[in-house]
Symmetry: C2
Subunit: 393 residues, 2 copies
DNA sequence: CTGTTAGCGCTTTCAC
DNA sequence: GTGAAAGCGCTAACAG
């Protein structure tokens, strides 16, 4: 209630020129209670005065050039800083130095546990390397994504880590090879030639498929959100198809047969599930129901392979609604991503080393910021199979 | 790993300068591939030159003072900006203006869905009001919390939204009444007299208790993390006890009896569960098991009341491990917070209007930033009961 | 060892 | 209408 929608559509503010919010400004003085003029934060000059010295020495002290300060001066500075509760203004520092130690982190969807986990890795690395992550959450709105990318540019971050939805090419101009260093997480972006960190999708999909085949499932359905510009979705799906081909000795080489000696015929299908539209979800779910029913009729063992956690959740909810608490006995489910509730729901997953992914992303970025200028690299981490109740047999 | 602790205790800086990365610096020139000298971003001066005018006019244009510009000049400026792909440097702006439109958002734990949801509300409000949220994630580390608070100060954010773990008093000096405006979310902080936004804990606990009593449960156990400095935990627990008192016509007035006409005796206990320590978790869980077993023996109907989602998850995992998929039939569970998996797990919850909480927090802060100086306010939003399988009967 | 002098990129009087 | 000049808080040459 009373929240967003009906607000006066403010011009632009941060993102562009236009208005700067008329009003307020004049109301400056004393008004209600505690009218203490906000004790302006001390500046370096204040400290210099207080310590009876020049700004330079203060600056030196702040930057750890302690060797160049007499013990006495140093003590006075220390005291002055303490007395004034002085904190150097990072903005000013950044302005002067040309570097502000800010890293932009653009996340497509924080509601996806994957993002939060990667974030934690990013934070850890940032602390270790002395950066401050500026977290931007696109909330699945491609428009937000664009705005944030601009904003980051505007704040002159030294680098950006992008887990994109699908930036419209043009937005990329400022980042990448020419401009501010960038590293992609989980998915590549078409026009952009930058470092990339993520899951080894091919291996992960294969891992899942092999698990499923080994457990006797022979009707596999890969469920994934619309591919759009998300490379990982596409890669996972492709790997899903391929690894089935290999495993059952399809067009691939025969050596793979050892994996499934009793060469049987396996069905592989893909079902797109657009979580953004209820109608689409309904339709897809209905299709899936039909598929499952058909499989049962054919006496085939059907398993659903969710491309990621959000899809898995939707699927699990549906299966549970349809088959009850014991749904696992009616339809198998495996998913890439291992959210905390997977254990509770008893869903077999392929866990990504999210922390490492985030950590490495920052390391890559750091190297780039420090000047490294080689061809774009890619770090693909292996996933780990976590077997649970949803893939019995 | 390798993170903070062992750093050479340098004076101030971002938190710790010291090694500013020796090396690199000199390697400036041409190295590997694309050795294009990073095309320095255009500045306002560049634009002025390009447009054949002074910086002032550019600035005017940027700030929407279009009225003061001849159509011609305006057009030239527009073109120049376009040509140079110019973006004003927010840092510089902030430095000059004294306000940078940055809001600090200090979150205790992003892994808690609650935080993410509040965050979304905060973001929405920020966009509407023209702020840029600077998200800081303390990851349950009180030390991080302190560091971030300092950092925010250092970046001169205009205000902070704090969902604290327990800042050690001293850290609060800079924020609150005297210094930078702050608003607390979900929990108050002892020494701090600031605006506060959160759930109406008393009402929420009562809602849960009444639901439980109405369904015939008569042995209620409130499970909560160590109270420490987290006011909401304390409040919820207190309200839990009180509302049971009222409802069964304890010390409270008799009118409440209508809620539980057949005045029976109800047991109310509290169990602390420290999620940070495995040993503690084990012990608490064992105690709970004993309690449940005892209740069964006494033929009492026992229900667990989780103070928040993390606790609920831990509890549900345990119950499931103990009683199997059908655990809901052996022990009832209700929780404050309504994470997305609650539906899947079939857990009755009391949902918080998280989005609004975040939104309102920013509104409060905005008012404060704009100069309002009245006594601290508090906004307590009501929770909403969502009944699911975990509280049958 | 220490202070003086220029700015970083932008806004803002204050004249023209 | 438009621009020149003076800083915001800080760092980085250069002199002493």
């Amino acid at each position: 209630m009373s929240t967003g929608s009906a607000r006066p559509k403010t011009p632009v503010a941060l993102a562009a020129p236009g208005s700067d919010g008329a009003g307020s400004k004049g109301s400056g003085g004393s008004e209600g209670a505690t009218a203490f003029a906000p004790p302006r934060r001390a500046t370096i000059s204040d400290v210099a005065r207080e310590a009876g010295t020049g700004k330079t020495s203060i600056s030196r002290y702040l930057n750890g050039e302690l060797a160049a300060l007499s013990p006495d001066l140093r003590a006075r500075i220390e005291a002055a800083i303490e007395r004034l509760d002085y904190r150097p203004n990072q903005m000013a520092r950044g302005l002067k130095r040309g570097r502000n130690r800010l890293l932009g982190l653009l996340l497509a969807d924080l509601a996806n546990p994957y993002s939060v986990e990667v974030l934690q890795g990013v934070e850890a690395a940032c602390h270790a390397l002395g950066y401050m992550p500026l977290i931007c959450h696109a909330a699945n709105e491609i428009d937000m994504e664009r705005r944030y990318l601009q904003l980051l540019t505007t704040y002159r971050v030294e680098g950006v880590i992008v887990n994109a939805l699908g930036v419209p090419e043009s937005m990329l101009k400022p980042i990448g090879s020419g401009g501010i260093p960038a590293v992609l997480v989980d998915r590549t972006v078409d026009g952009l030639d930058a470092d990339m960190v993520g899951l080894d999708n091919a291996a992960a999909a294969r891992l899942g498929v092999q698990h499923l085949l080994a457990h006797g499932y022979d009707d596999l359905v890969f469920v994934v959100q619309p591919f759009e510009r998300v490379s990982s979705r596409r890669e996972r799906e492709a790997a899903f198809r391929e690894s089935i081909g290999e495993s059952i000795g399809g067009p691939a080489d025969a050596s793979a047969r050892t994996l499934a000696p009793h060469a049987r015929s396996v069905r592989a299908t893909t079902q797109v599930l657009d979580l953004r539209e209820d109608a689409s979800v309904e339709a897809a779910l209905a299709a899936l129901d039909a598929h499952i029913a058909d499989a049962a009729r054919r006496d085939a063992r059907c398993a659903l392979f969710a491309a990621n956690a959000p899809v898995a959740l939707r699927l699990a909810l549906h299966l549970k609604a349809k088959f009850g608490v014991q749904w696992q006995q009616h339809a198998a489910l495996i998913a890439i991503d291992d959210p905390e509730w997977a254990e509770l729901a008893g869903i077999t997953t392929i866990r990504q080393p999210t922390h490492e992914i985030g950590y490495r992303a920052v390391e890559f970025l750091h190297e780039r910021i420090e000047g490294m200028a080689l061809a774009a690299r890619a770090a693909e981490f292996p996933g780990e199979l976590v077997v649970r109740a949803s893939t019995p047999g």
